[in-house]
């Protein structure tokens, strides 16, 4: 099925990717080519075939409900991004991560 610029923008929003009008039209051509390739699947009759999600068809293992990980907050927070908006500090404070205000 044919994609439109609006489709690209909608999907980009769902994927949380900012996309300019120019990029959206360039992307449209490439994605249409890839979807054309994918369309070959529709010629196959798959009635009654059980979908395969994993090559070994295994179920997930269960483990004991015990603590296996130790707290490594300080080590992990060293990888925090820069805060941005004019600040060259890491986006952390008091062991938490800083993001724009989300609750009014």
């Amino acid at each position: 099925m044919a994609l439109s610029i609006e489709d690209i923008k909608k999907v980009a929003h769902l994927a949380r990717l900012e996309i300019s009008d120019a990029d959206a039209s360039a992307t449209l051509a490439k994605l249409s080519g890839i979807l054309g390739l994918i369309e070959q699947m529709q010629a196959v009759d798959t009635t009654g075939i059980v979908p395969m999600s994993h090559s070994q068809d295994l179920s997930q293992r269960l483990r004991d409900d015990i603590v296996t990980k130790t707290n490594q907050r300080e080590a992990f927070q060293k990888n925090a991004p820069m805060l941005g908006n004019g600040s060259a500090e890491l986006a952390v404070a008091e062991g938490l991560y800083l993001v724009p205000k989300v609750i009014e």
């Binding site: 929003h13 900012e18 994605l31 890839i34 054309g36 070959q40 699947m41 529709q42 991004p81 993001v99």
Partner: protein, 473 residues
């Protein structure tokens, strides 16, 4: 050689570091080096050897694909998104090599998030094929491939989601193995398409790959799809004769789309196997052509989900200027990901979006089963399957970069084994116009030891795997 003390691990590591200093500015195989760390590991390995505690890979300098987290090493997955990320822990594969005293020689370049077949999607620039520096090394494990081919390491690790070990092994002329899905733990290996991703060895010979497998393979409870099987010795069958081996040739692997020069090399390799006592069986894998459409639904779908973690909040790239949280997400991701990664995220998001799930994702999973069943039928008639690993030799940089569909077709012979979860390898089989050609060997589930035997016996009567590119002596 290390055990007999002809050369120490420190000397060997220094030799490779010297070669890297000389050739890497041109080849761009490594994107992170840490001489002090590597030499400290080498020194510790020499102590183990002196104490008589050496194992086969103790002190051996190994190049690690930059998809594996290695504690206190930059780990970027070839992306701007992770350009400043320093791994706070070790991947299982890294832990395994550390445990036997191997040396981490550095982190190798790769297509961004392992999405590519030419290494041209890396944020850190392309990698040159040591056989012809105008050409690509293949991908996504292109840095590891060039490092092995140019002898900038003793061996390297790679990962293979749709052919990312075997296609570069074919294009750069060395031996690479993608094990059965679940044999090597994915813990600490940055996720692309989790139901397909599998790590494996990239080395000169099948024997070296077997020694690497002895270190890399094994159960790890931290990976939910790691298979709990008994430890095996992958070198155990290397010396077995091939008399009576049934080799299946799928007619679909020799049809339209295969370069004539590559086809000729593969035919000669098959003839060599006949001389070794193999029996040739014609087989069919009728759904081979569907493997690429199915893959380009399933892999992007899984990738769009896996890569949603990169939001600029806790690690990775955050945009410099933003107004609110949504703006921060959208800009950080748009800036942090390259064009191919964004394309695949968009495809994956599209096929998983409301109204399309059944037509794309479910349909692809159903055809995935048909593809896997083709192999079940084929292995009733043969012990291993052979064919080309890639449809052509190394192509020129820039040639396919603007045509994703042409690039995707590079993996036509490798993707179906990932979908089925089967092991596959590429073995140097000769040259076409001076460029290496790889013979693909596909085995049944958990048949890696037999495949390594099949490759090793060929390497006893041929010297393709010993050929070296010019200008890197």
């Amino acid at each position: 050689m290390l055990q007999t003390k002809k050369i120490s691990s420190v000397e060997l590591t220094q030799t490779f570091l010297g070669r890297i200093a000389q050739h890497n500015p041109n080849i761009n195989a490594y994107i992170a080096l840490d001489e002090a760390k590597s030499l400290a590991q080498a020194k510790a390995a020499d102590a183990l050897i002196a104490a008589g505690k050496a194992e086969p890979l103790t002190g051996i300098p190994i190049a690690q694909k930059d998809i594996f987290c290695a504690k206190d090493w930059p780990t970027t997955c070839g992306s701007k998104m992770l350009a400043n990320f320093v791994a706070p822990y070790d991947a299982h594969v890294i832990t395994q090599f550390d445990a036997v005293g191997a040396v981490n020689l550095g982190k190798t370049n790769m297509d961004e998030f392992a999405m590519g077949s030419s290494n041209e999607t890396s944020y850190f620039g392309g990698v040159k094929n040591p056989w012809d520096t105008e050409r690509v090394p293949g991908g996504s494990s292109g840095g590891s491939a060039a490092a092995v081919a140019a002898r900038l390491c003793a061996a390297a690790t790679g990962t293979d989601t749709g052919g990312s070990i075997r296609q570069p092994a074919s294009l750069c002329g060395f031996t690479g193995l993608k094990p059965t899905y679940g044999v090597v733990s994915r813990y600490g290996m940055i996720a692309f398409a989790s139901s397909l991703d599998q790590a494996g060895p990239m080395a000169k010979s099948a024997e070296d790959c077997a020694l690497m497998m002895n270190v890399m393979a094994g159960f790890d409870e931290r990976d939910s799809t790691s298979l709990n099987r008994e430890k095996e010795d992958y070198t155990r069958d290397l010396a077995k004769p091939l008399q009576g081996l049934r080799v299946g040739l799928p007619k679909e692997f020799f049809a339209e789309g295969l370069d004539a020069g590559v086809g000729k090399v593969i035919d000669e390799a098959i003839a060599a196997y006949k001389k070794l006592g193999a029996e040739i069986v014609e087989i069919s894998l009728p759904n081979t052509g569907l493997s690429i459409p199915v893959y380009y639904v399933l892999a992007p779908a899984e990738a769009s989900s896996n890569l949603s973690r990169y939001d600029g909040v806790r690690y990775g790239h955050r945009t410099a200027e933003y107004s609110d949280l949504m703006d921060m997400y959208c800009k950080s991701r748009a800036e942090g990901f390259g064009a191919e990664v964004k394309r695949r995220i968009l495809i994956g998001t599209y096929v998983l979006s409301a109204g399309y799930y059944d037509a794309y994702y479910l349909k692809a999973q159903q055809i995935r089963r048909l593809i896997a069943e083709d192999f079940v039928e084929a292995f009733k008639q043969c012990d291993v399957i052979m064919g080309p690993a890639a449809p052509s030799t190394a192509f020129k940089a820039g040639e396919k970069v603007d045509d994703p569909v042409a690039m995707y077709l590079q993996d036509i012979y490798t993707i179906s084994t990932n979908l089925a979860g089967l092991p596959g390898m590429s073995v140097p089989a000769g040259f076409s116009n001076g460029l290496p050609v790889g013979l693909q060997i596909i085995g049944n589930y958990f048949d890696e030891a037999r495949m390594l035997n099949v490759a090793h016996q060929y390497q006893q009567v041929t010297d393709w795997h010993l050929q070296m590119p010019q200008g890197i002596e």
